[in-house]
Each structure stands twice: as C-alpha cells, then as structure tokens.
Amino acid sequence: MHPHPEHWITTDQNGLYCAVIDAYIDPLVPVHRAVVTHGHADHARPGHDEVFATQQTLDIMRIRYGEDFCKQAQALEYNQKIQLHQAEFSLVPAGHILGSSQAIIEYKGRKLVVSGDYKRHADPSCKPFEVVPCDVFITEATFGLPVFTHPPIKDEIQKLLNSLALFPDSCHLVGVYALGKCQRLIMGLRALGYNKAIYMHGALLKLCDYYVSQGIDLGPYIPVAEVEDMASLQGEIVLAPPSATNDRWSRKLPNVITAMASGWMQIRARSKQRRAELPLIISDHADWDSLITTIKQVNPAEVWVTHGREEALVHQAQAMGYKAKALSLVGYEEDESS
C-alpha cells in the first residue's frame, strides 16, 4: 500500500477506519476491531469484538457496560509499541480525562497521530498531553472557534465559592459530566481548600469510586439519596449530570442556584439555554489557542480536522501554511462531555 496515510485512512458510516491496522478508531457501532481513545460514551461503545485501549479506558467501559462489553480487551501501557496488522501502533496521553490517549500509527516511515479528544490546560486527574511530531495530525475541533478561551480552572471554581459566600442559604447544584468533569471539579474545589463533603446524584458515584481506586483523592462525598433532611443541603455543593439539573430530580433540593461546568458556558445564549445561573467555563477540550499551539508544536505536514467546528480550524491551519482538510465525522456529541 502507498505509504501516505490518505491511502489507508477512510471514513464511513461506522467512523474512522485505518486499513493498515485493520481497525476503526472510536467507532460508532460494533466492529471487529476498535481502538478506543477514551471512555466517554460517544467514543467508547459496547459490543466490539476486539478493543485496544489503556487499562483505565477498559476499566471505565467495564463499569459502564458490564463485564462482557467486548469479546477481547487488549490493554496497552502509554507509549508501549506493538505491531498491529501491518503497522506499528501505540497510545500516548491526551490530557482529556483519566486513561485518555492519542492513537499513533506508523507505516512505512509515515506517522499518523489521531488526537482523540484532548486538552492542554493542567489537569491533576490525568497525564498531560504529549506532543508527537508526525506527518498527518488528526485533531478534534470541539471548540474550534476563536471565541473560545478556557480560563484557568481555579478562577471558575472561585466563582462557585464566591457564590456560596454570597448566598450561604442556597444549595449550589452543579451540572457536570459523570466522567472527568465531575472529578476534575471536585479536585479543583479541594485545591482551593474546600474540605466539606460534596453531595452527588447517584449516577456520578461509580466513576468517582473508580477514580479513588486509581489513587486520586477526592475527599468526602455523599450520595444525595442518603441525605435524610433535604433542607440540610442549603449552603452545600451538589453535583449532578446536566440532564438532572432542571428536572424532577432537582425539585426536592432547597433554594437552588444552578451552575453548569462546561466549555459551552462561555457563550451566554448556551448558558441560558441550559438555565445555568452560574456558568462555569470548565472544559476538558482544547480551546482555540490550544488547538493552534498544538498544531504548531506537532508541526505536521498535514492537518485533518474531525468532529466539532472544522471549518474555522481548517481555515486557520491553511492560513498558517499547513495543508488542511476536514474529515467529516458525525455522531460525536458536542454537549455533555465538553
């Protein structure tokens, strides 16, 4: 096969297919062989025959889908190189969430990096993004518009603490994605000295327990279901998946102020749509500056842009002198995990 990746990478309705390793990367439907970059539900789906991923990603899939989430799970250490079908294959940290990785494929001297989802902001809950120089860099573009600048997480957490100080009688309900965002927010609170118990919706428990089992200290947390007197939640922080913050579940909470932790919170209309009174701009994705910095550092011959706002990033990469194109992949949710 011709060594240039454009001859061995294709997209179809199942997702991104790489012929030289004979595998789909983060496929949307069950396939015979899948590389899974991280555990978010839109990237990690059950029912594949063979799955290549980090141990932590496999653990997360097991927690979510049960023991038989695939026929054969193949755990890889970061930077462990293996021969897969016709190419050399490895995973390196992506800095997105615990266990997240970029997929590196080397075939006949050409190197391709599939970034998966990634970020460059500091995150103590996972290993930082590693820059891997390559010929073709496939980057995500979830926040691929110059309006997106993710502020330092401590500034955003401080907003939450300030609101607690200003409204000490209000229960502060924060919408967080169960995997990654939830734990990063808790760690951010702990880093600023918030030592009280944090209350949470049942859907967040298992993954918090898993993070703790991986040696990550989250401090005390208590399921709301175990709280007898709801009034005692005044002045406390309660975490819940975004879908539960404005629904029947949250009605029982006293005197609620609704916060939402997401990169989308930067845009006022999106915050209003989410009925967030206290928007916290906390994202596990790369913001616009990070996307551009990363492209410069990786300095590939070509940039291919996948899910998100491809158009603006392709335009920008071309303006920076890179050969760039959009790989249109559908089916990756932009909302919950961002």
Binding site: L145, T149, L166, R268, K272, R275, E277, H315
Partner: protein, 552 residues
C-alpha cells in the same frame, strides 16, 4: 467600570428576583457616587445618548479579525457585542492602553464630551484594557442594549428597599413621585435614600404621581356594595394613563410611570397649560368615526365616534415616532375619570365625588374634542348594577371590559387601598380547546411543563388559537406535567407535541383576528378555566364557534 461589568454579568445570569435585588443592593452599598447613579440609569434605561454606534464596533473588529473567522463566530454566538467581546485583540498601532480601568462615570463623561474621532480612540483604549465580560458590558452599555431582566419598576422597588434600611420615610410611592423629576446620576436621590439629606425638591418639574388601583370584585363580596355609597363607571378597554401638565411642561405617563408622550403627538402638541393644568387620571384609547349613525351603541358624548379596538391602540403604543398616516388612521383620545390636582390645587385629600365635581366643571368648559369625561352610571340596586354589567358586552362593540365601582368618599390614595375601588369585569367568554403543545416554564416552574398551546377543530384538524400558563392550581400543574410527559408524541427543540386527547375549558376576555396563529384568531387574556379530564377531544369546540364570538 469593573464593578458595573461584574454586576450586569451577574444580573444577566441570575433568574430569581430576590437574588437580583440582593446583587443590586450590594452594588449600591459598595459603589461610590456618581458611578452607582449611572449604573441605575443604565439599568433603568434613562441614559439619553449612545456612546458609539454599532457601525463603529463593526468597523473596529473587521480591522482586527479575519472576516471568515468573524462570520463563523458570529453565526455561532448569535450576538454582536458578545462575539466582539470574545474576539477583540489589540493592534500594534492602537492608541496606548489605559493605566487602569476608569470609573463608570469617567467613561460616561468621556463619551459624552468626545467627538467622533476621540470616541473611537477611547473605545479602542477601553476595549484593549478590558477582559471579555467587561468588553461585553461596555458594548451593551454604550449602545444602550443592556438586557438583563431588570425593569425600571423593579429597580425602583429595589431602591425603596435599599432606602428603607436607612430611613423610615422612604417608600416606592415617594420614589415614583420623584423619579421623573430627577436625572442621572441620581446623587440627590441616593443621598436621601441613605438618610443623609432631605427629600429632593421636584415641585417645578413634570413628575408622574403613583396611581390608585382597584381590587377585583368577586361575587361573594357583591352584597357589601351599598348602592348609595358607590358610583359606577364603565371600565374601558384602553390603557390607564396619567396626564401631567403645568407651565413647567407636560407629559403623559403609563400607569407604571413610563413617559409615553412621544407616541402621542396628536394629544401632546395640542394641549396648552392655559386651558388645562393639573394631574389627570384616565384611559387612553383610539377613537374611530362611526360609519353610520346608530351603527354602534356607544358611550362617548360625541355620538359620531366610538372607541377603537385595543389592537388599534397597541399599534400606536408600539411606535416611538408614529407616522402621520398612522395618527390619522388611529387618532388617540382620553377619557378622564379622576384628577389628582387641578390648577395647582392638590385634590387627593378630597373625596371622590368632590374631585369629580371639580373635574366635571373644568371639563364642561375645555376646548379639546379628543378629551372625554367618564360619566357616572345610574344605579339604585345590585340588580341594576348587574344588568349594567351585562350591558357592557353590547356597548362600544365590546371595548368596554366591565364596571368600575368606587366609594364616593374615597380619597386618592396610591396603591390598592381596601374597600375603595373595585373592578367588576364582565363574564369571561369560554371555549373548549384541545392541548396540542407544551413547553417548560421559567424560574420556579422550569422543571414543569406549564405553558400550553391549544387549538380548536376545523373539520378534523386542530388549529392553534392561543397559549396559556395560568388558571390552574399547583396540584393541577403537577398532574398536567405528568400528563404531558406521558403523552408526548414529538419534540421541536424545547416544545413537546402531545396526544390530542385533553380538553381545556379556556376563559378569555375577547377574541379578535390575528395572523399570529394559523387559525387567524387570537384571544385576549386566555387562561385555563377548568381542565376537562372527562371530555373527549373530539367534543371540543370548533373554530366556527370561536369565530362567532369575534367582536364585530
């Protein structure tokens, strides 16, 4: 400027009124004059000039941002100020940035004094010295497009509460009386609110006076109405206004104190304080010529004319500068029913019958044909009163809403004093309609499907006729919410389409033609009267039935 930007940002995202009030009071407490007064002006909408035009913002951003990236960003964000706030960055040959962020009052003063070129440079300097949220606040402030969900009335209420922390004598009525006599940055007002000086003197200014309001009359308290103690008047279907005129000026205010003079030049330009001087309480209406005598049974003294529809009035209300054509088509008029002062004499302490006498004797000799007088209606018994109320539906093609009952000995007291004034609306009209769509409410109701769109039958199709979100109890709301969730058959964004299976008995004040709904009809004040869990949807009313209830 920093504190102001933080305040408007927080207000934008805060939905509860209590929380909003807390934020504003905290700001007033911690911010010096004259900054806080300018903030009040910005929120209440009393700033009277734009700092800069939208065009300038567009020009500046297109010098700094790749147009493709700007367009893609604008498409996504959907709002100009916010897009610019995020995308803004400095250029090498910009005027040098400011050492520190200036105060709000300094910003106001600079833009007020500057010429075009100076203001352009100053705007660049400011934007270069700011963070995104501050830039957003500045751009919204400067184009007077601050939309943060705080009305002028609500702000005055907050000011009153703030003042009451310092001084017993502060009340919202007093603030209302002063408001239109004061101008930003409101230092005298704030000083009085904090108990540091006497109440500002506005006696030589044209000022709105807080109005007296009525209670709805329910059938149970009807026997309490002793005929010889009350007068009855028609309740007209216009808007309540206050006309203030003296040698110092003239204005017409809505009942919430907004100056709406600019919308009614046909009234304002004609009035001369030599002929009319005082503070008058009345109804603003549109006046239409009768095409044939006796075509409409009317109540206006001038028999060639009748009261226009509320829809016609609405068109006048919505225009800041009405065209001559619109004025000719829908000329405005006033029906006066009370007066707070006349020829500099305060009448508020007098009893109603005395005030009406004074008003009437002046009215009989005044020259304006667009001013009418609300006559007292004869009645000697509750039966006669009841039949007057029934008459209301047939008069003025339905543009009489019912009756007003006012105690003869009532003084003019701001607010809603007990036992003084009552409104007795005519019976609502009712129609059985089928719920078609539901949407979540706001605030406390944000987790409930509480806004319902309903329709009537045209052959075997339902056509929407209106939307309602009131009239049911909290328990009924819970039941309806559950019903909606269990009967959803489709989704359009936030709107759920439901099974066409549940009938509402909808009460409304009137029905008129409108192109807002596919049915071509629209209801006034629709509310859910009863939920007909028992009634099959096919037995709901047809559009024809509703059409037959149209005002002529």
């Amino acid at each position: 400027m920093r504190a102001f930007a933080t305040l408007v940002d927080k207000l934008y995202f805060t939905s509860g009124n209590l929380a909003k009030a807390a934020l504003i009071k905290d700001y007033l407490k911690t911010t010096p004059d004259p900054d806080r007064g300018w903030a009040i002006a910005a929120i209440a909408g009393t700033l009277n000039f734009d700092f800069f035009k939208r065009k300038l913002i567009k020009d500046l951003i297109s010098e700094r941002v790749d147009p493709v990236l700007f367009d893609l960003s604008y498409d996504y964000v959907g709002e100009m100020s916010e897009t610019v706030a995020h995308l803004w960055h400095s250029l090498p040959d910009d005027p040098k940035p400011l050492q520190q962020l200036p105060s709000l009052s300094e910003v106001v003063a600079k833009f007020a004094q500057g010429n075009k070129a100076q203001n352009r440079n100053y705007l660049i300097q400011l934007l270069n010295s700011m963070q995104a949220t501050q830039r957003w606040a500045l751009l919204k402030l400067g184009t007077r497009g601050l939309r943060i969900g705080v009305s002028a009335r609500f702000l005055k209420k907050i000011l009153a509460e703030y003042g009451q922390q310092h001084s017993q004598e502060v009340s919202i009525e007093k603030i209302e009386r002063l408001w239109h006599g004061l101008a930003p940055p409101y230092t005298e007002l704030l000083s009085w609110l904090e108990g540091k000086s006497a109440i500002p003197d506005v006696s030589e200014k044209v000022v709105f006076q807080p109005v007296m309001l009525s209670h709805p009359l329910d059938e149970k308290s009807l026997p309490d109405i002793v005929p010889q103690d009350y007068i009855a008047e028609w309740k007209f279907d216009g808007i309540r206004v206050q006309l203030v005129i003296s040698e110092h000026g003239k204005a017409i205010f809505s009942r919430t104190g907004d100056d709406i003079s600019h919308s009614f030049p046909d009234i304002m330009q004609n009035l001369d304080h030599q002929n009319i001087s005082g503070v008058f309480d009345g109804e603003l209406i549109v006046i239409q010529p009768k095409e044939q005598q006796n075509q409409i049974t009317g109540v206006l003294a001038k028999e060639t004319h009748h009261i226009g529809s509320f829809n016609q009035l609405q068109q006048r209300l919505n225009k800041k500068k009405p065209s001559n054509k619109l004025i000719q088509q829908y000329p405005a008029g006033l029906i006066l029913y009370d007066c707070l002062s006349l020829h500099k004499k305060d009448l508020r302490q007098l009893v109603l019958t005395k005030r009406k006498q004074f008003l009437k004797s002046w009215f009989d000799n005044q020259p304006y044909d667009f001013i009418h007088f609300s006559e007292e209606l004869e009645f000697a018994s509750i039966e006669q009163l009841t039949s007057l109320r029934e008459q209301a539906t047939t008069l003025e093609q339905g543009y009489i809403e019912g009756l007003m009952l006012k105690a003869k000995d009532s003084q003019y007291v701001a607010g809603r004093p007990k036992g003084a004034w009552y409104k007795w609306k005519r019976e609502p009209r009712l129609i059985d309609a089928v719920i078609m769509y539901a949407q979540r409410g706001h605030g406390k109701r944000s987790s409930f499907y509480s806004d319902y769109t309903f329709g009537c039958w045209q052959q075997d199709k339902l056509l929407p006729i209106g939307k309602a979100y009131s009239g049911f109890t909290d328990d009924e709301l819970k039941q309806l919410d559950r019903w909606v969730r269990n009967n959803t058959i489709g989704r359009f964004g936030p709107v759920k389409e439901v099974n066409k299976a549940l009938v509402f008995e909808v009460a409304f004040d009137s029905v008129h033609e409108s192109n807002r709904h596919k049915s071509g009809l629209a209801l006034r004040f629709p509310r859910i009267h009863r939920i007909r869990w028992d009634k099959p949807a096919e037995e709901a009313d047809s559009l024809e039935t509703l059409k037959s209830m149209l005002s002529q």
